[in-house]
Symmetry: D2
Subunit: 325 residues, 4 copies
């Protein structure tokens, strides 16, 4: 088994490392020669450019594009359309937009090339823990590349078996990867995953602020409670209903600094949370929590936005309340 | 007709002025002698303290307490319980909590004294436009004080008649005052009014920000639109579905300063928006808009809250995203 | 002055009537000959098809397309591209998507034809009250068609002048129409208008339910309040901060039936509320109220959605709570 | 070590079982003799009433009240105030309101009796997995009862150690129990825990509906995706950011019935989600996700609520849209 990897950032590089550990040969390329050299030193085969990478792979080839969503991925997949041969597979990785995946797969299909869109969760921990893979595309290449997915995924032992799951059910999901459906399904599922992640994070964040704020002067003295947020999150990790990997990470961050004073609170968002809410609206699905989580991030990056100044202006106009500058 | 007014701030003072214009005699008191003197110069009868105010009124008396909700109102109503006589009426004005009104009315009732809880909308414009009054309490004193309410209310000509409203219906609401029900009903209705006000304001504010932001660098150049928000709000005032007094005030504020640069955007809230959401929760009423409007105000007064820093910390922990300070 | 109108539904037909009352000649066409005949009987000039309509107009022509957003409008505007001459104007009316307006205007511009995108608010009341017009496109045709817009708009007397609005400011917005900006700006502004409308409606709806629910068994008997919602909304129309056209209509509906028992509560939505939230997300504008209003409508049309069944399933799984069927 | 348990429902009974397994003697009482007899058969000492239970315990006594929040708990704790002696401990268990705990503790303190308020998470799984305990009250009884808490908690091995947690930190939280602070702190923390739980559940539920709805007719055919929700949740359990106990349970429910057709979707709520949002409002903490989760549950139990009928009525009034019955 052999794979080409285009884009050797944090995600692409570690995917290659995990594949090599499983004995899968990787031909790698990145526009930054230094990262190519670094992976070559760890055992990967270095390519000098995309055509060279394709040349170095034996047919039927599989090339995984792990670049930022948008123009970079668009260009690389388009280029692969000209370089690959019928029977080869291009993988649209990264956090891409699912409608783009559907469109790109249609273009490659005309050239006889299969495309898979794969969403990958696991972040900086994936190298050690394995990656959860959400795969969209035709069944044949998904089956052919099964060893690749199996090597990347965490494996069954990463969680206890689900009671009641049928023995006849697909054996792949319990290992941490899933063939979600036709093209687009991989990125769509990853998009929903990330939106759920935003919502869970925001639920936790609101709870933590509520715990902490109860000790503040915003609360009447006789009701004030001085709560140890780091210890509480640590305790919740065992036996409680909110036990989760996000809680583990939260407890870890709070163990390092209970005040979280090193964080700005200007929270980024990466596209998928946005697309998910837009998709919910297109499908008429109420998504109040997914939206609220997104808006909290938007708001965290604003200062005195026009909306708030409008409210101040209205209050002043009808009630003579001039908000303090 | 005669009324005692306790508390001569912006609201109490103008209520007195509007009553005097209608020929209703007012005995007034405030802990600040200067405002008492000012209203006396305009024709009100000055009292030196609360007992004096009660003494100066002929039975059956009516005393309107127009003080800040909370301790000030609590004290004044309790004092009135000792000063008034059976058959007199105490009015719990201001933006009080409806459960307090129910409790206070129960205490006064034991002494044979009626209480009315009255919510008053109109702000700094009420003197000229009239006040919308929401009244809770027993029917008899509401009827006896009808001339007071009629004098304060805007009157029928303030809006076109409602097509289809029955000729047999209560003639008071079309004049701008309403006997909402038993004690508590006045403040409850005013509380809901204010929560609706918050929601409408927030709807408008979000729309204005969206109009404005579309001209900003957050939007791709080919979709950017430079919109004249003051002119748009002015046009919306006529013929559109969002025509409203709040829009009139918004257009006015934008006519004075299209950037609203004189406003801090730290938006206050006065109790009723909070109580309304809490009441909705007690009655299991979904109130997403009323809540969102309230939370936007809370958030407008925070900087880098713990919740947002928690999100930053989680993102850093799983994805290595360190948010910029 | 002369105008062609394509699409004679509720909106198109009444626009023509209002124009004819102002002495503006209208050439009309609709795929339903009956509605063409009806308007011809009222004084409009009937066309037999779109080419005929164009032929009957003197250059420089102006043709207003008032068809459902989407394919119908797309087709008609495209057809007009082939029928009109340089210097003519096509109007993309209806509740169209602003990005479509930008695209369509670009196509027509290549043929030397100007396009205006116009959002129109006023509903079934517009014939009598006038329409609020939000116009996007180049300045020259906007100026040339000023008599048309002036005839359709409510006029200055429809609302009191805005204090402080500069005498040097654009005289059109105080009449109820506004040149919002370049192509797309008209539909974008109308989209935001409708989203604000959704938000204001939802604020009102939540308030009304809260008033009503307080008299129900969901509330403890000692706190229960039996509130007369029709009378309260009637009183709010005068002097209160929530006075608005939507409140007028609400009071009217409640005067006809205080229980609103004739309404299903399955609330439709027409595209603009959705696009507005999607636009907010693209511009990173927090829009919690606009979204909540939209989701309430989505939810009103669902029964036992999968999301809720999932919650039931989770509760059963961890707590043994089996929700009653 | 010995403990009295009052209330032997699902929670109380299993707490006793887990304590007995650890060799802690339990004296038990419930108003239902059958459940008392059942636990006696498993080794507990049966009491005939509350005074008898107190008599059977050696001083200093500890009595855990595990009854429904509200009147049942109120009565039992009040009764214990008359039965216990200085130096004894009463435990206010169950999902009680934190302000009640503060008040009750104050009353018992006057009689020299300590009270602890303990929130317990773990549901029907707690017997096997252990319970997460959140404890409020004075330090001395918390320390004295440490063997009880240790026996009930899951223990350190239930989760991996938190990297970076100081060796000098409190050793109890890593075992799954935490002394949160003074009286009220236990129930307050449990209340926040449950609100976070609601938020996480709702995030997951919205995501699942979005996945499922994408295969429905609400979506344009060319974008429709038929996604296997059971397999996707199974895969997410390993390596993904949303891995959590709630996800484990969701996957389990979906393995049993991918349609979740056995669930009504009328989702209950138990008080803590409500109190948490009310507490957030009192402390001016924005809680959009916690609120949205609560409102979704409220809405799931309504049919054609007045709010939605109001929206329909308004739409009909201004636009002539009569929503289908």
């Amino acid at each position: 088994m052999q794979l080409g990897m285009v884009g050797l950032g944090r995600m692409g590089g570690n995917l290659v490392r995990r594949l090599m550990r499983a004995g899968i040969g990787c031909v790698v390329w990145d526009r930054d020669p230094a990262v190519v050299a670094a992976l070559a030193a760890e055992g990967a085969e270095a390519a000098t450019d995309l055509p060279d990478l394709v040349r170095r792979l034996a047919a039927p080839r599989a090339v995984w594009v792990m670049l930022p969503a948008g123009a970079a991925t668009e260009d690389a997949v388009a280029q692969l359309g000209g370089l690959l041969s019928p029977g080869d597979v291009a993988i649209d990785g990264g956090n891409g937009m699912w409608k783009d995946a559907i469109r790109r797969a249609g273009l490659l299909r005309e050239a006889g090339i299969d495309m898979l869109d794969i969403g990958t969760s696991g972040g900086v921990w994936g190298l050690a823990r394995g990656y959860c893979l959400m795969i969209g595309g035709p069944a044949a290449p998904v089956e052919r590349l099964d060893p690749v997915f199996k090597a990347l995924a965490p494996g069954e032992e990463a969680a206890a078996p689900t009671p009641g799951r049928s023995a006849a059910a697909d054996p792949r999901p319990p290992q941490g990867y899933v063939h979600c459906g036709a093209n687009g399904a991989g990125h769509f599922t990853k998009m929903v995953h990330n939106a759920v992640e935003y919502g869970m994070m925001q639920a936790m964040a609101e709870g933590l602020e509520l715990l902490r704020q109860q000790g503040s002067e915003a609360v009447a003295p006789e009701l004030r409670l001085d709560l140890d947020v780091p210890d509480i999150t640590e305790a919740w990790r065992r036996g409680s209903v909110v036990a989760s990997w996000l809680l583990d990470l939260t407890a870890q961050a709070l163990a390092a600094d209970g005040e979280l004073s090193g964080y700005s609170g200007r929270v980024g968002d990466s596209g998928e949370g946005r697309w998910a809410v837009q998709a919910a609206i297109e499908a008429a699905v109420p998504a109040p929590v997914l939206s609220a989580a997104l808006y909290s991030r938007f708001r965290s990056r604003q200062e005195a936005p026009f909306a708030d100044r409008s409210l101040s202006a209205m209050r002043n106009a009808f009630g003579g309340h001039l908000e303090p500058k």
